[in-house]
């Protein structure tokens, strides 16, 4: 009988989606029956507790980083990057262990990868706006734009022109227009 390789019946592999898990109608059965690979049963109390501990430690790290005054003052970019890295690590732990994606078949990639790609793409498309935002402010907009409060010790660069009715408006957007 002529068969294409795609349609060959395979007792262990039902096509590309079912790499290492059971059939749909078995999903509610205790997992890990087939154990095609060296995977242990998905989950397990000890595993969950370990992930829980890891999440707590990671939360503590991001809390400590976020509250570090020296990091905030000296290199906020490092602080933000660290916190985002910690968040991604936490998200990965939750997705892999709590949402069981670690033990799911290859279908997981079909749903998660496009969604993640589109999210990242959306973010990347919006990011250039950050740098350009204040560059395009009109003069009238600067009149009412937010302005960092003046430090008490050094007299703020008062940009007001002499004889101006509003004594202290930022003369030109040059100074405050950088976008981190």
């Amino acid at each position: 009988m002529a068969r294409s390789p795609l349609t060959q019946p395979n007792p262990t592999n039902h096509g590309p989606w079912t790499a290492d898990t059971q059939m749909a109608d078995h999903t509610h059965a205790p997992a890990g029956e087939d154990d095609l690979h060296e995977h242990h049963a998905p989950g397990g109390l000890m595993k969950y507790l370990a992930v829980f501990g890891a999440l707590l430690v990671l939360t503590a790290i991001s809390f400590a980083v976020g509250n570090s005054q020296s990091l905030r003052e000296n290199s906020p970019q490092v602080m933000w990057a660290m916190m985002m890295a910690v968040s991604c690590a936490k998200a990965l732990l939750v997705i892999m262990f709590f949402m069981h994606l670690m033990w799911e078949a290859n279908w997981k990639y079909v749903l998660t990868i496009p969604a993640s790609m589109m999210s990242i793409f959306l973010l990347l498309m919006l990011v250039p706006d950050i740098g350009r935002r204040t560059q395009k402010y009109a003069e009238e907009r600067w009149l009412h734009a937010a302005e960092p409060q003046a430090a008490h010790h050094d007299h703020a660069p008062a940009a007001g022109h002499k004889g101006d009715t509003h004594g202290h408006e930022p003369g030109k957007p040059a100074a405050p227009a950088d976008g981190h």
Binding site: T27, L55, T59, M84, V86, F98, L122, A158
Partner: protein
């Protein structure tokens, strides 16, 4: 391969097998599809937040404490959500092992944890609302910078309160005096006293805080000083001091002002005193001049009498008595008959006196104008003195309101029930993004809680495991979103 080629020629006897598309249940598939849309939904929100957060003019995004956001509360909520993630995964395990009682227990714990999360969120929202931090019209309650519009807004607000208090001011003062005289006050009386004292504060706040700053912002020549005065006002109402050093520097500024004010007051009062001396001298001269002119008038009256006696018959009573002094002299001149020498002498004397009186009147007028000008200057100095003194009296209150070492301070916090416009750079934008993101997240939490309640009506045995799994997936996603929101909103 030959088989294959043969089959491709399509002789119709190829038996295709049914392929199940994805080896998961429909419910789970739908939930995952839903979650992938949710990923993009929250990614959109977060990306927008990042653009707004980093796109504001540099260094203007408020720090957590600037907007009454407490990191530790956010961290606690993170902890609560992580715990609930563990508990729901344990509920799933229990249900897969067909232990409905255990599964239900874990589900209840998850529900309670979710409810705790929402409760904490509600408390946080309440704190923001109580401090006036929520999206409003621009330049209404939250201002982007301490500019003249800000000062005007503060003045308008204080003026309204001051005007309401003004008709009762004396009554309030009397009552405060009466209450303060009492030995021990009941709680009601104490509350009344506090209330009245706060009402009475509207005068110094309006005059010595708002008007003072507005005048400085309008009249000061130095733009740096103009700006400093407005920053001072903003700091007094809602300070954004991030370190103890900031607070100390602010206090030092207040103390510096308190040191300089007495010198200004001294100057003004010495100026006032010297002007007062001038004015007193002028007034004494004026009195002397008046005295002199009355003397001259009486003298003139006497001479006039003598003259009238000399010529009683020829007198033309109608003309002389009715006409005013100056004219009587003129009208006497063209007399038909030549006056006698004695009469002529009297007439000359009267004319001399009249000239003196006119001269005195001119001097009086000049002195009077000068005295008036001096009085005006003195009144201006007096007002200046009062303004300086009022400002000096206000400074201790500002210092007290700062409460060094405490994060929440400023007049808005110190005087409960008063909400003056605040200067929080990018504060409106912060409030919009914060409430939008946490609000959407809270709605998701709420939906999760509803799902937990609904499933608790069933026996959570192995047959319900797939439902618990789906709810669990949703709940983990809610946790996932919070994992990103917490650092972005609380720690960035």
């Amino acid at each position: 391969m030959t088989d294959h080629a043969h089959a491709d020629h399509g002789h119709g006897h190829v038996k295709l097998e049914y392929q199940p598309s994805i080896p998961i249940g429909n419910g789970k598939l739908c939930l995952w599809l839903f979650l992938s849309t949710e990923i993009m939904f929250f990614a959109g929100l977060i990306a927008t937040y990042i653009v707004l957060r980093f796109g504001v003019p540099a260094n203007t995004w408020p720090l957590p404490h600037d907007v009454h956001l407490v990191e530790s509360i956010g961290a606690f909520n993170t902890f609560v959500l992580i715990c609930s993630s563990v508990s729901i995964v344990l509920a799933l395990e229990a249900s897969r092992q067909n232990q409905p009682g255990l599964a239900k227990g874990w589900m209840i714990i998850t529900f309670v944890l979710g409810a705790v999360f929402l409760g904490v969120k509600a408390y946080e929202y309440k704190e923001k609302f109580a401090h006036g931090i929520y999206p409003r019209r621009p330049r209404s309650l939250i201002h982007e910078k301490a500019d003249i519009y800000y000062v005007q807004a503060v003045r308008t607000e204080l003026k309204a309160r001051f005007d309401k208090m003004l008709p009762h001011e004396q009554e309030y003062q009397a009552r405060v005096k009466e209450l303060e005289g009492k030995a021990d006050l009941s709680t009601g009386e104490q509350a009344e006293l506090d209330h009245l004292k706060r009402e009475l504060l509207y005068r110094p706040l309006f005059v010595s805080l708002a008007q003072w700053t507005e005048l400085k912002a309008a009249k000061e020549d130095d733009p740096i000083k103009r700006r400093q005065a407005m920053e001072m006002l903003a700091d007094a109402i809602y300070p954004l001091h991030h370190t103890l050093r900031d607070q100390e520097q602010y206090i030092a500024l207040l103390e510096e002002e308190a040191r300089q004010l007495p010198t200004s007051i001294q100057e003004v009062s010495s100026q006032q005193a010297s002007l007062q001396g001038d004015s007193d001298k002028l007034k004494a001269e004026l009195a002397m001049l008046i005295e002199k002119s009355t003397q001259l008038s009486t003298q003139r009256g006497k001479l006039q009498e003598q003259k009238d006696k000399l010529k009683p018959i020829e007198a033309k009573p109608a003309a002389t008595s009715a006409l005013p002094r100056g004219e009587s002299f003129v009208s006497l001149q063209p007399a038909e008959a030549q006056p006698s020498p004695a009469e002529q002498k009297l007439i000359d004397e009267i004319a001399a006196i009249d000239a003196q009186i006119a001269d005195l009147a001119q001097q009086q007028k000049d002195r009077g104008v000068a005295a008036g000008q001096l009085d005006e200057q003195i009144a201006a100095l007096k007002a200046r003195h009062e303004a300086l003194q009022g400002r000096l009296d206000l400074l201790p209150l500002l210092k007290e309101a700062e409460q060094v070492g405490q994060p929440h301070h400023g007049l808005n916090d110190f005087l409960h029930g008063i909400m003056l416009p605040m200067r929080i750079p990018s504060g409106n934008m912060w409030a919009s993004t914060y409430f939008l993101m946490t609000g959407f997240h809270a709605i998701h939490v709420l939906v999760g809680l509803i799902a937990f309640v609904l499933i608790l009506f069933y026996t959570l045995d192995v047959k319900k495991a797939h439902v618990i799994e789906n709810i669990g997936l949703y709940w983990h996603f809610v946790d996932l979103v919070w994992i990103f929101l917490f650092p972005l909103l609380y720690l960035f």
